[in-house]
Amino acid sequence: MDKNKIKEIIAKRVAKELKDGDVVNLGIGLPTMVANYIPDDIDVIFQSENGFVGLGTAPNEGEENKDLTNAGGQYVTIKPGAAFFDSATSFSIIRGGHVDATILGALQVDEKGNLANWMIPGKMVPGMGGAMDLVVGAKKVIVAMTHTAKGNPKILKECNLPLTAAGQVNLIVTEMAVIKVTDEGLVLMELGPEATIDDVKAATDADLIISDNLRKMDVD
């Protein structure tokens, strides 16, 4: 599958997790694409941790507003009914459980729902930004990522990179699978359009429980 197709599958599938009225924070990169696949008949409120709810689409060229950027520093727009606030309020919203879902990428996720996505010691240390607060505070943590990195599994028995948070991930969505994090371990719930159980097992380091209701991912 080509890269764009992979991203589209993941974003489409994650979009189906969101309900009318949900307050959602989208991480930078792939998660941002989820906004493109929200059905018209439901109203999802996007939170931007730099200080507002009611994040809209990217502005038309030439209509950028220097005072209106998202948490990635890109120009954005707001929807009617938006509201601005300071960073302490923004993270009160996040840490206080007022965000229904946070969708973010990962370097590694493991069987206990541990997440590593903010540094590779000695290599890449961008900092955690708002990720640690988001993962601890959001009611539902959805990891949206490619199933492997350069062929290496990212879903592990145990993360070996520094954690973003311990035991907070609820759902993992990749182009190959939808995996639920439970007290019993990782449960394979859905298979990607082109994946078999064996494919997923081969690309996953962690143990997988196969759901009795295993089905194909709905990515129409």
Binding site: N114, A131, D133, L163, T164
Partner: protein
């Protein structure tokens, strides 16, 4: 006494080696003119407290590139490769803090609190060296307040008494930092008469502002 002063006058308060909070988020809401003046003046060995180190050529990122910073306390340096380079070379000390914790630390510094308990960072390297306290069966980190010698703030509208209004996403850390420093300098994008900002809409009350410098083009 008027709070409106020249940039030169305002920057007399900022000395080498001081701890400085700078409002803004990836350049948006940075006090750009003050930053340019600090570069011109060559003030050095600063400890910067800010959400991020912006970009190499935008906002406070320029202070890093110009090697005027000895330490940064921040949540994110990924957008400014120069910060990481200086960190790896041992030239600049970087302390990474979760963004919500940093915002709350600055708020606590201004609010006279001795600290606060946050669930953020539990089970990660962020908890190293910190006191853990259990409340109702849940673990929290005790995080301490942060203050600075000077806060450099960017206001979209500032009245002559120092009341500040921040437009859209320029607000971010600015109002928090305006409460947490011994001296507060605001760069006014638009300087307005007293009364032009509705008292209901003031986001930083005038009592926090010591100096106003003009930021208009």
């Amino acid at each position: 006494m008027s709070k409106i002063v020249s940039m030169e006058h305002a920057l007399e308060n900022l000395k080498d080696g001081m701890t400085v909070m700078i409002g803004g988020f990836l350049g948006c809401g940075n006090p750009h003119k003050i930053i340019d003046a600090i570069i011109e003046k060559g003030i050095k060995d600063l400890t910067i407290i800010a959400n991020d180190t912006a970009f190499p050529d935008i906002g406070l990122g320029k202070l890093i590139v110009n090697k005027q910073v000895k330490k940064v306390i921040t949540s994110h340096i990924g957008t400014n490769p120069e910060t990481g380079k200086q960190m790896n070379a041992g030239e600049t000390e970087v302390v990474l803090v979760p963004q919500g914790t940093l915002a709350e630390q600055v708020r606590a510094g201004g609010a006279g609190l001795g600290g606060f308990l946050t669930p953020t960072g539990v089970g990660t390297i962020v908890e190293e060296g910190k006191k853990k306290i259990e409340i109702d069966g849940k673990e929290y980190l005790l995080e301490l307040p942060v203050r600075a010698d000077i806060a450099l703030i960017a206001g979209s509208k500032v009245d002559k008494k120092g009341n500040i209004y921040y437009n859209q996403s320029t607000r971010n850390f600015n109002p928090l930092m305006a409460m947490a420093a011994d001296t507060v300098i605001v760069e006014a994008e638009e300087l307005v008469k007293v009364g032009e900002i509705d008292p209901n809409d003031v986001m930083t009350p005038n009592i926090f502002v010591d100096y106003i410098v003009r930021g208009e083009e």
